[in-house]
Structures are given as structure tokens and as C-alpha cells.
């Protein structure tokens, strides 16, 4: 399968650069610190929590905040991972290798996208090892954890799709990174404005566009197909835009 050959090459090249390793290390370090502070707090509160009927457990008090921070950190990190994916190839003029091989633009884009997704899955797996380590000490709500992880995967896949498209627009990786981050941040906070304006229709529309809104449900363990469809549409839109952009390279030259 050509797509997987391309994805494999992309993933390999990522790991051949120090960037990927340092991102993995930094993200892991920060989240581990947050995880440990959260855990420490939970342990001091544990005695009092036992008195309360139906009190929130470790999953709610430690794991949910951990993934909450993870979404925000990944929003800053994903643009750095995706910035080079096409712009770098354009700059080093290695795209003709792919263009003159019997590959369609769709295969090239999806292959590259899956390469990035592969890397992000590795990162999410490493983050998830921390909450899973709590299983040695007690029980956690595995259903809720699964919903949160699933939500996070959808969310970062959406981030990566935006990053891929931005990277296909430029020759400069930094431009791609900055504009990706800008778009992600805007989509994150877009529902704030709507809430303040007081106009119900506008605020509904804006909050519907917000990626955060659709992630929130999943992060609380509510699996809504509307949210999943939102992410699927979001990702396909940016992938199709990237395919069209790459095809335009061939037309414009």
C-alpha cells in the first residue's frame, strides 16, 4: 500500500530529526510534572473525600486535568511537527520525486498525514502511560479514560490536518507553524466572543465552530456522534484543501 510507504517514510524522517525527540521529551516532562502535582493534591484530599458520598475519584481529579493540559500543550506542539511536512520538501525541491512516481495527490497527502498521526499516537500513548500507572495503586474509570483519549486523538488529528494544509501553502516552515498556531488558537477561543456579544444565533454558530466545544463532551465521557462527525468533517475539509493546493502546484508551476 503506497499510503503506508509514504507514512512510514514521513515518520522515519521525523524521528531522524532532533525536533521530534525534543518535542516528545519536553511534552512528557511538563505533563509528568503536572500529573505529579495533581496526584499529590489528590492524596492530601483523599481522606476528606472518603467522607463524602459519591465524591469524584482519581479519574476526575487527576486524569481529566492532565488531559486538559495536554490539549493545550499539543495545540502549541502540533504546528511545530506539521510545519515542515510539505514546505520543507518544497524548499529542498524533493517533491518531484513524489510527483513523477505513479502516485496520486490524494495518496501523497494522506500518506504524509498518516505519518504525522502515527507520531501523535506515539505521543498520546506515552502520555497515557502515566494515568495507566495508577492501576498499580488502585482502580480508575477506564471507560472515562478511553473516552478522553479518543477525544484527544480526534482533537490532535484535527490540529494536524490544519497544520498540513498550512504547510502546503508556503515554503517557509516557520510561517506554516505560526499560521497553524494562529488558526488553532482562534478556533479554540472563537466561542468566547459569541458568548459576550449576546446575539444568540451568532454565539451558537461560533461555539459550534469551536474545536474546544466538541472536545469538551468527549472529555466528560459523553460520546456524541455529532462531535465525532464534526471532527471527521473538519479533518476531511483540510485534507481536501491540501490535496487541491498540491495539485495547484502542478498547474501553476
Amino acid at each position: 500500500m503506497m499510503i503506508f510507504t509514504l507514512a512510514q517514510r514521513e515518520l522515519r524522517s521525523l524521528f531522524l530529526s532532533p525536533l521530534a525527540w525534543s518535542i516528545l521529551a519536553v511534552v512528557q516532562l511538563i505533563l509528568a510534572y503536572l500529573f505529579l502535582t495533581q496526584l499529590n493534591e489528590f492524596l492530601t484530599l483523599q481522606a476528606q473525600l472518603k467522607m463524602i458520598e459519591g465524591a469524584p475519584g482519581a479519574t476526575d481529579l487527576v486524569i481529566a486535568p492532565l488531559y486538559g493540559s495536554a490539549t493545550f500543550i499539543l495545540m502549541m506542539v502540533v504546528p511545530l511537527l506539521t510545519m515542515r511536512i510539505i514546505s520543507e520538501e518544497r524548499r529542498s525541491r524533493s517533491l518531484p520525486l513524489l510527483f513523477s512516481a505513479p502516485l496520486s495527490m490524494t495518496e501523497i497527502i494522506i500518506g504524509k498525514y498518516l505519518g504525522i498521526i502515527g507520531f501523535l499516537l506515539i505521543m498520546i500513548t506515552m502520555i497515557s502511560l502515566m494515568p495507566l500507572s495508577l492501576l498499580f495503586a488502585g482502580s480508575i474509570d477506564l471507560g472515562l479514560l478511553a473516552a478522553i483519549v479518543f477525544g484527544l486523538i480526534l482533537l490532535v488529528s484535527a490540529f494536524a490536518a490544519v497544520g498540513l494544509y498550512m504547510s502546503s501553502l508556503t515554503q517557509q516552515p516557520t510561517v506554516a507553524a505560526v499560521s497553524t498556531f494562529g488558526i488553532l488558537l482562534l478556533l479554540w477561543i472563537v466561542d468566547w466572543a459569541g458568548g459576550k456579544a449576546g446575539d444568540d444565533n451568532a454565539s451558537n454558530l461560533l461555539s459550534y465552530l469551536s474545536t474546544l466545544r466538541h472536545y469538551e463532551g468527549l472529555s466528560k465521557g459523553v460520546f456524541s456522534s455529532a462531535d465525532v462527525i464534526y471532527f471527521v468533517l473538519f479533518i476531511s475539509t483540510f485534507l481536501i484543501l491540501s490535496i487541491r493546493r498540491l495539485d495547484a502546484d502542478r498547474m501553476k508551476g
Binding site: 503506497m2 513523477s100 505513479p102
Partner: protein, 321 residues
Amino acid sequence: MATTLIHVEHLSRHYGALQAVADVNFELSQGEVLGFLGPNGAGKSTTMQMISGNLAPSQGSVKICGIDLLEQPKLAKAEIGYLPEQPPLYRELTVDEYLTFAARINRIAKNKITSAVERAKQRCGLEEVAKRLINNLSKGYQQRVGIAQAIIHSPSIVVLDEPTVGLDPIQIREIRKLIRELGKEHGVILSTHILPEVQMTCDHVQIINKGQLVFADKIENLNQRMQASSLIMSVQQSPPVDMLTAIEHVTAADDLGDGRWRIHYPPENSPAAILATQAANNNWGLYELSPEHKSLEQIFVDITTAEQPAPENTPSEEHAA
């Protein structure tokens, strides 16, 4: 006649108002090496990009082994190997890794990948550097990796855009040898602005200038155009001009100083033998007598600066040939 590998019809390309390539037609048969000559910005690279499917033509069609490149790009591209001006390399990979990747994306069967990589390395002389990072290789080796990538899937057509630019003379000689070898099995299209390169490696030559084909013919015919119509003679004691012009077939004699003369004569009527006899009889002290070749550069300039190409050089003759 051998099978037609590539058939280009009315190929045109413009970037905005700039017409980069205008109405180019040509064919390439198996076992031929076609040289594309032209000054910088003549449209060589644009043509190459269009043939290899990297650039969509504004007008016209490209057929690879009878398959239309625009209608069935995947099938057609499987028959092409392309080396752009700058080799498309992943510098963070080793030569082996890179060639394996190139083999995979060109849809070589899994069990044949290793042998295809070995063969490409051997043909391009890359065995010694197989385990090294492409980034650390010299320009010449990187160029060879680029060629290896283009021939790895044994395509019917190999398109090489200025393959010898930036190489040292020994590497140039090796690459030219490789191109001639490739020409035995594949059809090769090669672009260059170095005229002797075309003379040494190509069977057919096309000269492109300002996007238009101004000359398309066999290399022998180009050589014929270079036929001498003058001699260079060096003597110790110069004879009077009248004596030289009096000799049969000599139309004019220019004194170049220090006993050197340029003797003009009508083509195919060389007075060399008579001159030698005269020189011996009159004790001129002859020590050099050689036909003067019209340089390829001269012809190139003649053709590319001509307002209108001579009718016998129009591309249509290429098809008839």
C-alpha cells in the same frame, strides 16, 4: 523502426503572459538518446517538467508508450524516470534507504526491491556509499543518487535535466558513459546547454530557443553542418597573397600574422593537397595544415539567433526522418 516511446504534440506552456514553451512536437523511439539544447531560460526545464508530469501543459498532449499522461497519469508515470535539475533527495536518509523508498513508491514488487536497488547502485557506481547519509555525499554522488532514483524501476523513458551540472570532469565523463549505456535499453531525454555533451552522448538533437524548437535532427546532420570550409596553414616563409589565391579552389586567403593563414574554399573542394605540393616546391617551410572546424558554439549561435529558422530545419523533418 523501433517502437515510439514518447509522442509530444503541440505542447505549450505559459506562465501568465510569458510563453515558456510554444507548440513543441517531437517523438522518441526505443534505444535513442535525445539531446535538448538551449540557452538558459529557453524552456528546456519546463518541457522536461511537462513530460514527467510535474507540470500541467497549457495546451497539447504527451503520450508515453501510447498512454496519455494527462488522462492516465499513474499508468504513464510508471514508465518514466525523472531527474530534475536539482536531484529530489531526502538528505536525512542513507542511499540504501532512499533508493528502497524510491523503489517502493514506483510500485516495484516487494520481492524485487532489493535486487532493483542493488542494480541501480551498481549501474551508478554507488556501492561504496550505500550506507552513508545522502547529506554527507559530494555533489557528484548526490547527482548519481538522483540518476539511480530515476532508473530504479527500469522505466521506458529516462528524463534527465542537466545531469552533469556542477560535476568535475571525471564525474562528467562517467555520467556521460552511464547515459550512453542507458540509451541502449531505455529511451533517454537529456537537457543541457553544453554542446559537446550532446555530440558525445546523443543520437538526436533538438535545439530550443525562446520556447520554440528551432532545430531537430540527427546528430550526424548537425556534425555535417559543422563541416569545415576553411583551412589553417602555418608556414615559416609567407608567400604573397596572389600566389595563394591563384591556387585552384582557393576563394580567399587571410593573413593571420606570424606565417599563419586562413584559406577559404568552397565546401567539398579542399585545396589541401595542392597547397602542400606548392609549399614543398616553393620552400615555404610548411609546418601546419589542418581543416578548421566550425565550432558547435558557432552553429548554436547561428541557429538560435536566426530570426527565422531555415525551412529544412523545422521539426516536421524529424518525423519524416
